[in-house]
Assembly symmetry: C2
Homo-oligomer: 279 residues x 2
């Protein structure tokens, strides 16, 4: 093939085994769609009550058979009970968990300062994150693949329905929504979901139109071991990850004739996920 | 439905008829995939030689039956002749058209200054664009849906194979690639294309694996009128468009508890496209 478009995140780097962590099975959720599995990693360090309730809902089968009922091209795919008929003891309105105070034991790893929308961006436990040093707050950023709870106007009104970002980062939602995880595996399935018309009913798909269905949702620890994907996440401080960021800043590859200004968009650099070589 | 996630670009605005333009049929290309049509608007004002050659290739049927052979989740979908066996008199290496000099008759409409990667961002004829006032250059930005020519390391080596951005804007490619159009219609089909493995052969899909096919490509003026989509693009200076940008800056909707910093990401605000109400 003659024409190859260089991608900064495709340039190979040799990674040693300890640069990758295996997420805990009780912190992963498998959304089984008709087309295959989507695996979510949860972020209890940022939104503990959202994670707790989401896991309880998953465990009781609340999401089984529900649809991605609102899918807006370039924005979000939202799932849950559009009919609002399904009941659950775990369907409680949650207090907002938009941000958390910066503390000494934060593992924040800086990537960019300033960012267009935040004083700093970087990673927290492998998730794209941002910080405001004046307000002494940090939060997870609405990058593609990020998982957050939908809500009504009241900040403390999220409970069951969630969305996944499928387009250019909607950064105005940062610090406005409780982000509680991200997709580790299966984004192409989310990107393939039937869309609604954004100009009609906020993109909610009409009753008689096809929708993507959650056949079943399970905590990974409830999935038989042989059915689990052996996923690993590259550590944010891994030398290979830091080298990738450096290549992005320097752009010293001959492919690039214009060398940029050294700035990085945190949402272009999700930490990598792989199936373990032995998995 | 109780839980509605407010989207800045969904908030309704009344638009008058003259806020929308109908793109010229000889400046649109229909990529007919097995799943339906994808419509591209070309940008001859930025990359005239790329547009000229692309249209000549389309007209002679060069792309008919070729595949999206390299599709990397969160990055690009690239199409063309992976086998490099197809010949054409129009398969010429093109001189780079990465930027153009800022001139007095530019219709650049400012949105954001400074942007994270450019001195200014805004629109040129409805396409996301950026400017460097020092270098006196302007260019089209690699937002989702943007169309550009693939190339090898040599800046002047693009000829036939093209890519469409399908993920968070790869802004390091700005000023490095000849962007010559964008998708007006059919992005969900592009987002549904079979992916390659980014860790293997730069994401080129293995020979025996399923790929999305271009059944036929045609200039819209060669498509029978009754088969054309009656597409319109909202003018970049339309009051409704400017009001949408203002809502993004002000975030004065009660849904937003954190009001942002007034900055806008040009790639989150593509100019709107619609099927004409009477179409």
């Amino acid at each position: 093939m003659k024409y190859a478009l260089a991608s900064l995140f495709l340039l190979a780097a040799t990674a040693t085994a300890d640069e990758w962590r295996t997420p805990q099975a009780d912190n992963l959720v498998y959304l089984e769609l008709e087309q295959g599995p989507v695996v979510l990693e949860l972020a209890p360090f940022m939104a503990p009550q959202h994670v707790k309730q989401f896991k309880a809902l998953v465990k009781e089968g609340y999401y089984d058979g529900l649809d991605f009922y609102r899918v807006v091209e370039g924005f979000v795919a939202q799932a849950g009970d559009v009919s609002e008929t399904r009941t659950s003891e775990h369907k409680q309105n949650l207090q907002a968990e938009f941000t958390r105070p910066i503390s000494q034991d934060s593992d924040f790893s800086l990537v960019q300062a300033p960012d267009l929308f935040a004083e700093q961006t970087g990673y927290l436990k492998g998730f794209a994150a941002a910080r405001d040093l004046q307000d002494k707050q940090e939060w997870l950023v609405h990058c593609p693949g990020m998982l957050a709870m939908a809500r009504s106007t009241d900040a403390d009104s999220g409970s069951t329905d969630f969305y996944i970002v499928i387009g250019q980062a909607p950064r105005h939602l940062d610090r406005n929504m409780s982000v509680f995880g991200r997709v580790l595996w299966g984004m192409p399935l989310i990107q393939s979901l039937p869309r609604g018309n954004p100009e009609v009913d906020m993109g909610v798909i009409a009753k008689d139109q096809p929708k993507g269905k959650i056949v079943r949702a399970r905590i990974a620890s409830d999935v038989p071991a042989e059915q689990r994907l052996a996923l690993q996440v590259q550590e944010q401080d891994a030398p290979a990850m830091q080298a990738r960021l450096k290549r992005g800043r320097d752009m010293d590859n001959a492919f690039f004739h214009f060398k940029g200004n050294g700035n990085l968009d945190i949402c272009y650099y999700p930490t990598k996920v792989r199936l373990t070589p032995e998995g």
